[in-house]
Amino acid sequence: MIYFLCFILFSIGIYGVLVKRNIIKLIISTMILNYAVYILLVLMGFRWQGQAPVFAADQGIGFMVDPLPQSMVMVSMIVGLAVTALLVAVAMRLYQEFKTFDLKAIIKTKIKNKPETDDNA
C-alpha cells in the first residue's frame, strides 16, 4: 500500500513533465520524480523496529535497516542537485534570450526569427 503512494507521486511527476509547458514547472516535476525514486528506494530497505545503520557497542546487526539503498540515494542526491542546477541555468539562459519561461512562446519566436538568425550566423 505504501509503495502505491510512491507510484502515485512518480506518476504526478510524469504528468508534469508531459503536460506542462513552463520551464520552471518542468524543473519542479523533475524534482518530484527524484523525490519519488528516493523515497521508494529507502522504503524498500526499511525494517520494523529497525535502527539507524551506525555500529555501536550495544547494537546487533540484526536490527539495522538496510544501508545499501541509503548509500545509493545519498550518492544520487548530489547528482540530482547538479542536474537541477544545470536545468535552472538553461532556463535562465533561455530567459535571457527570449524573455519568457513559456516553451510554446519560445518555439513561436524561434520560428518567426529563423531567417534573421540565419543572417546573423
Binding site: A52, M74, M77, L81, A85, M92, Q96
Partner: protein, 166 residues
C-alpha cells in the same frame, strides 16, 4: 497590458537588483550573518570530519560549507564573498577534490584492487583519528561538493544581471 509598465519599472530599476548583488542586505542581516557564518562553516567541517563515526559524511558536510558561503553571497553581495574565496580558487578546489579522490583510490591499488581502502586493518576501532582511507575520502568529497555548489551558485548569480541589462 499589465505586463508592460511592470517591465519598464523593472528595466529602469534593474539597478536595484544589481545593487543587491553588489552591496547586500540591511545592517541587521549583515550582523547576524557575520556572527553565524563562521559557526556554520566550522560545523560543516565537523560533520565532514566525523563522517565515519556519526551520521553525516562528506556530502552533507560539503553541502553545509557551500550553504555558509552561499549565505555570505546573499547577505554581503557577490564581491564580498569572492574576496573570501575567489572564483579561480573555488574551481581549483573542485578539481582538487576529484583529483584527491582518484589519487587516494590509486594508492589503495596495492592490494590488487583499485579504489579500495588503503591501510585496511591498521585503524583503531571507533576512534576519530583512525588511519584509513575513508576520512581522507570524506575530506576529498567535502572539498569537491562544497566548492562545486559554490561555483554553480556564483555562475547562476552572475547570469542574472545580464538579463536585466540587455
Amino acid at each position: 497590458m499589465k505586463n508592460k509598465p511592470n517591465q519598464q519599472i523593472k528595466s529602469k530599476t534593474g539597478i536595484i537588483d544589481n545593487d543587491q548583488a553588489e552591496q547586500g542586505m540591511s545592517i541587521i542581516v549583515k550582523t547576524v550573518t557575520r556572527l553565524t557564518v563562521g559557526v556554520l562553516f566550522v560545523y560543516g567541517i565537523n560533520v565532514a570530519l566525523h563522517g565515519h563515526i556519526i551520521p553525516g559524511g562528506g556530502f552533507a558536510g560539503g553541502a553545509i560549507i557551500a550553504l555558509s558561503l552561499l549565505n555570505l553571497v546573499l547577505a554581503f553581495g557577490k564581491d564580498a564573498a569572492l574576496e573570501k574565496l575567489s572564483q579561480t580558487w573555488a574551481i581549483i578546489f573542485t578539481t582538487l577534490g576529484l583529483l584527491l579522490f582518484m589519487v587516494i583510490g590509486l594508492f589503495g591499488s596495492g592490494n590488487n584492487s583499485i579504489l579500495e581502502s588503503l591501510f585496511q586493518d591498521k585503524g583503531e576501532l571507533l576512534s576519530l583519528l583512525m588511519i584509513g582511507s575513508i576520512p581522507l575520502l570524506n575530506i576529498a568529497v567535502c572539498l569537491q561538493v562544497g566548492a562545486g555548489i559554490f561555483v554553480i551558485f556564483i555562475y547562476l548569480v552572475s547570469l542574472k544581471p545580464e538579463a536585466d541589462k540587455s
